[in-house]
């Protein structure tokens, strides 16, 4: 599989998650300082790195390729369908767009109630939970690729970009087109999930076009998702004016 097919979805998904994690760390840093908040984020990133090494190694060593492909395919479907659904709901106006400013204020409010240890824990937990989705994509795409490190590089490149942008702006990164990225990544992840799940069940002949099928599936989920969002928006609009 082309290295870009692994790098791009990992980079985009990681960008969304690191932006959300950065907002939490930024809010915490105003209470306990950059050093402690950064330390909490670094501890969470170290935990994620350890998880990636352990699970990635286990997945590549244990079990047959078909079982591995099925497991990863189903995991990606479970994960990707939720991303796509959330992006569709936001696109259709059924769900409010994610606001980094709101997230920032909510974290600041939560910090008012706790002490320094609680603030450290909020930063650690925030980065860990946002990073879990990055870990899942890195391990899933990396373990099925001939170049597993490409997935890690995608996540690290996104992390470096978000840290650099955050260091310059020193405010929540609101101008990232989060829902568009979520739409793209959701469509990509469901495409990989569909491809690997069915290939594991039906064998290599399932997709006569081979890896090119991924592009067709991606276009189907992306365009289908946009079309359904537009239909839902039209359906909801008259109800809203009543």
């Amino acid at each position: 599989m082309n290295e870009w097919a692994v790098f791009v979805p990992t980079f985009l998904a990681a960008t969304v998650e690191w932006v959300e994690a950065f907002t939490i760390v930024l809010a915490v840093s105003l209470s306990i300082g950059w050093l402690r908040a950064g330390g909490a984020a670094a501890a969470a990133l170290a935990a994620l790195a350890l998880m990636t090494v352990v699970t990635g190694g286990v997945l590549r060593l244990g079990g047959g390729i078909t079982a591995l492909e099925l497991m990863i395919g189903v995991l990606l479907l479970l994960f990707g369908v939720r991303w796509l659904a959330k992006a569709m709901a936001r696109q259709a106006g059924l769900k409010a767009l994610h606001s980094e400013e709101k997230e920032f204020e909510e974290t600041r409010d939560a910090l008012k109630k706790g002490d320094r240890a609680a603030a450290w824990l909020i930063a650690f937990k925030g980065v860990l939970l946002e990073g879990l989705e990055v870990w899942l994509i890195v391990v899933a795409l990396g373990s099925h690729s001939a170049h597993p490190l490409v997935a890690v590089e995608g996540a690290l490149a996104a992390l470096a970009m978000v840290i650099a942008a955050g260091a310059i702006i020193r405010a929540p990164l609101q101008r990232v087109p989060e829902n568009t990225i979520k739409f793209l990544v959701g469509a990509m992840i469901v495409s990989f999930g569909t491809y690997w799940t069915l290939e594991a069940l039906g064998g290599p002949a399932t997709w006569p076009l081979g890896d090119w099928t991924l592009l067709i599936l991606f276009a189907f989920y992306l365009l289908g998702g946009f079309a359904i969002s537009a239909m839902l928006r039209v359906r909801e609009a008259p109800e809203a004016t009543r």
Binding site: L77, R82, L129, E133, L198, L201, G203, L232
Partner: protein, 55 residues
């Protein structure tokens, strides 16, 4: 731990619907209708996502 599992697998409706779609795909493959599964799974999964979007 709850947040960990929810991140990985989603909630019960997510598990049930995606499980049902994959189960349908497996059944079609067992019946020798792999091409049916290849055509049916993408629209079923898109419909699942649309249903979740409306929930």
């Amino acid at each position: 731990m709850k947040a960990f599992f929810k991140t990985l697998f989603g909630d019960i409706p997510n598990l049930v619907t995606v499980g049902a779609v994959v189960g349908f795909g497996a059944l079609m493959v067992q019946l020798g209708e792999t091409h049916v599964a290849a055509y049916a799974l993408p629209p079923l999964l898109l419909a699942t996502a649309a249903w979740f979007a409306c929930r």
